[in-house]
Amino acid sequence: MAAVVPLEFARPGKDVIIKEVAGGMGIRRRLTDLGLVKGARAHVVRNDGFGPLILALGDGVSCCRLAIGRGMAHKIMVEEREPVDGSLCSSE
């Protein structure tokens, strides 16, 4: 079982599963609207340790890219996974 870490520290090239979103309703809402819900799987496209992160959010069909500010990434707890090959956007 992989450790749960803030998204801020997720490494680029890995997949993450969203475990928990801390913070107020406003933040949660915003993430929810964009499809970042608990259990969703995403691929970390970019994380420079500086500036916002870029995630590829899976919906099984397309790959939309989300930029997420570091402050916010700090509040999202995720579990790192090895990427499933070829399924950048798998939505398990």
């Binding site: 069909v61 939309c64 890219r65 070829g86």
Partner: protein, 688 residues
């Protein structure tokens, strides 16, 4: 038409709803053509776009709802869209959906359907979906959701006819029952309890679909709870709220999570099911990095991203103002000439001199003052629309977020601030991309502190006259002072009026697209024409007013000490004594500067009786000025009261006279304080 439908007003309404960037504007234009008009939703800053569709001899009212991802109480946009669908009950809602991003788009669709809206789906961007090997079965989707689904390519007008036909057909049919997603035994049980109470309360039942309301109450939707609280006089309303509170508590304990999350999860579960069924073939093994990602790797690069963005912005800036300048000048000259000619004609007809002067300087001068803004504004919005449509603008905000954050601003605030160096008018209009109201208001309020191009001639006049050796530094220091004050005021306003954090930065990075000429032109036109319509009248009115002040009472010389303007200047002059420029000429120049900042130069030329070209001689020979008082005056010119066009656009964008008045007042006070400080401290330090 359908006899089953209860009597409806003559003109039927079609509302457009959809996420951002899905092609809603394109579809709206395809439906309405040129028959559209723009206003504001009552009481808010959000733009309201309406139009007419004529189909088979009948007229339909088309309304473009703000682009939203959801329909909660998260933002003004969402509340507007929600209230419109709930209370204004459009006859049909066309839900524009991005086929390449189906899952996320369907979230809004399910919300619309749960609300009981009569939805027709425009499955847009089908060309891109095809390109990316996404095969969606519209018929299956239609069956599953129970609504017509029409594939479209809005940019090529494909599917629009069919869309209209389906929408019209749908209006005649009886309204469908709201969509019911199964939320699981536990949640359903609570929904039922609440629904029962709701059904027993006519005032509430008539206003809201009962299942929808029950769900919203379980989700703890602030807005809905507030609305129900307002119906307190019905004791059932109170009961409903108590039951909702109880149900929420019960569910949290039972399921170990707040009900909102649970409900949203279920909704996404339902959508995932839809997608599995309706998408025939998933794309083949997609390469990990798409072309978009490769471009992103460069333009959002840790070190390269910022310089690239700055160069792009600089290019937009240069192109706009270089191309616009000759056009504006030409327009100004043409209008000047027209004014002269009409005045001449009037004089030859024996009209009184004052009338001729009114026509020349008041009327044509006023219209000219509006027209000179057209080239820069349209060009600027042309380039910005180009960058936006290509998808690059979102990357710019990404790159700037970190830096702007340290100023207490949002990444998207950068563009308006930068544009402010060109002209504050389009800059303030560009704040529309900021979704959060607080961020937007702050960005609007501090924008006038960015030194626009019109202030440069004034800076140059004084700097070259009094600091011939250090002109560059003096001018640069003014720009810098403006930026520093903007940051300071931004922080202050956030602390005072707009408490709370900078809106969290989450935004979609849309895939890069080749912008189409049509869409770029539409976006440019939408914004540019809004300026003329709304700001034009205010500018015209103020120009005419100042003309009157400068020329009355009848017979005085233009802007002389005896004119009302001159008298007004004399009244205000003592106020500026502590800043070192307490003479009526300076006060008059500042008053006309409100028309347009560059007018300060011409006015000084006029009041010293030397003409605009020799203004510097007049200033020197008057003996009124010292280098220190000149600098204080420049600081005042930088900060005090934005020009009328800016004021007009602040009014338009904030939709509030109160905040407009505040912007005028705070800049005046801040300008005065800073000018006085500089003059007094300068004197203490031995400058003169």
């Amino acid at each position: 038409m359908g006899a089953t439908v209860k009597s409806r007003p003559e003109i039927q309404t079609i509302a457009l709803a959809g996420n951002l960037n899905v092609g809603k504007t394109c579809i709206f234009n395809a439906l309405t053509g040129a028959r559209q008009y723009v206003g504001n939703w009552p009481g808010v800053t959000v733009e309201k776009k309406e139009g007419r569709l004529i189909h088979e001899g009948r007229t339909y009212h088309v309304i473009d709802l703000p682009g939203t991802y959801s329909l909660s109480a998260y933002s003004e946009d969402e509340v507007i869209a929600r209230n419109y669908i709930l209370f204004d009950k459009p006859h049909v809602v066309i839900n524009v959906v991005d086929a390449t991003n189906l899952e996320r788009n369907l979230y809004l669709t399910t919300l619309l359907l749960e609300m009981g809206a009569n939805v027709v789906m425009a499955l847009n961007m089908m060309d891109e979906a095809q390109q990316r090997n996404i095969e969606i079965d519209p018929n299956r989707l239609s069956q599953l959701l129970g609504i017509p689904v029409v594939p479209t390519v809005a940019t090529r007008n494909q599917g629009i006819k069919e869309l209209i036909a389906r929408a019209v057909e749908r209006m005649a049919a009886p309204s469908p029952a709201p969509l019911k997603i199964d939320y699981g035994k536990d949640i359903e049980g609570e929904i039922e309890k609440l629904q029962e109470l709701i059904e027993k309360t006519p005032v509430i039942k008539d206003r809201y679909p009962s299942r929808w309301l029950a769900l919203k109450l379980l989700e703890g939707d602030r807005r809905v709870i507030e609305e129900i609280k307002e119906i307190k006089w019905d004791k059932n309303a109170e009961k409903i709220l108590i039951q909702a509170e109880e149900s929420r508590r019960y569910l949290s304990e039972l399921l170990g999570d707040d009900p909102e999350t649970l409900i949203v999860d279920r909704r996404y579960g339902f959508i995932a099911g839809l997608v599995r069924e309706a998408v025939k073939k998933k794309p083949g093994v997609e390469k990990r990095l798409t072309l978009s990602d490769k471009i992103d790797a460069i333009v959002t690069h840790r070190y390269l991203g910022l310089p690239i963005f700055l160069v792009a912005m600089w290019a937009v800036f240069e192109l706009t103002f270089r191309l616009a300048e000759p056009l504006s000048e030409w327009l100004e000259e043409a209008f000047g000439w027209l004014g002269e000619a009409s005045a001449g004609w009037l004089a030859s007809m024996g009209a009184p001199e004052i009338l001729a002067s009114f026509v020349k300087d008041g009327l044509f001068g006023g219209v000219g003052a509006v027209l000179v803004f057209i080239p820069p504004i349209f060009l600027l919005f042309f380039f910005i629309s180009l960058l936006e449509d290509s998808g690059y603008m979102a990357r710019g905000a990404y790159v700037m977020d970190r830096i702007m954050h340290s100023f207490g601003l949002h990444g998207k605030s950068f563009i308006p601030m930068l544009l402010g160096f060109g002209c504050n008018v389009p800059a303030i209009m560009a704040t529309r991309t900021l979704e959060n109201r607080s961020d937007r208001m702050i960005t609007i309020l501090i924008n006038p502190l960015m030194s626009c191009m019109a202030r440069l001639p004034v800076y140059l006049l004084f700097a070259m006259t009094f600091f011939p050796e250090h002109t560059g530094i003096v001018v640069f220091s003014l720009y810098l002072l403006g930026i520093l004050l903007a940051i300071l005021m931004g922080r202050l306003f956030r602390a005072l009026f707009f408490k709370g954090e900078v809106a969290p930065f989450v935004m979609e990075l849309p895939p890069y697209r080749m912008p189409t000429a049509k869409s770029v032109l539409i976006h440019m036109w939408d914004r540019g024409s809004a300026f003329i319509r709304k700001a034009g009248t205010i500018i015209l009115a103020v120009v005419i007013l100042v003309w009157a002040l400068a020329n009355l009472p009848v017979g005085v010389e233009y802007a002389s000490e005896e004119s009302w303007l001159g008298q007004l200047g004399s009244v205000f002059a003592p106020l500026f004594q502590p800043a070192g420029f307490g003479h009526w000429q300076a006060a008059v120049a500042l008053i006309t500067g409100i028309l347009a900042k560059e007018a300060v130069v011409g006015t000084l030329g006029a009041v010293y009786g030397v003409g605009e070209e020799k203004a510097h001689v007049g200033i020197l020979e008057s003996g009124h000025w010292t280098p220190l008082s000149a600098y204080a005056f420049l600081v005042m010119t930088l900060i005090y009261i934005p020009c009328v066009a800016t004021i007009a656009v602040i009014r338009r964008e904030t939709n509030s006279w109160k905040w407009t008045a505040f912007a005028v007042a705070y800049t005046l006070v801040l300008g005065w304080i800073t000018a006085v400080l500089i003059y007094q401290v300068g004197r203490l330090l031995g400058f003169s």
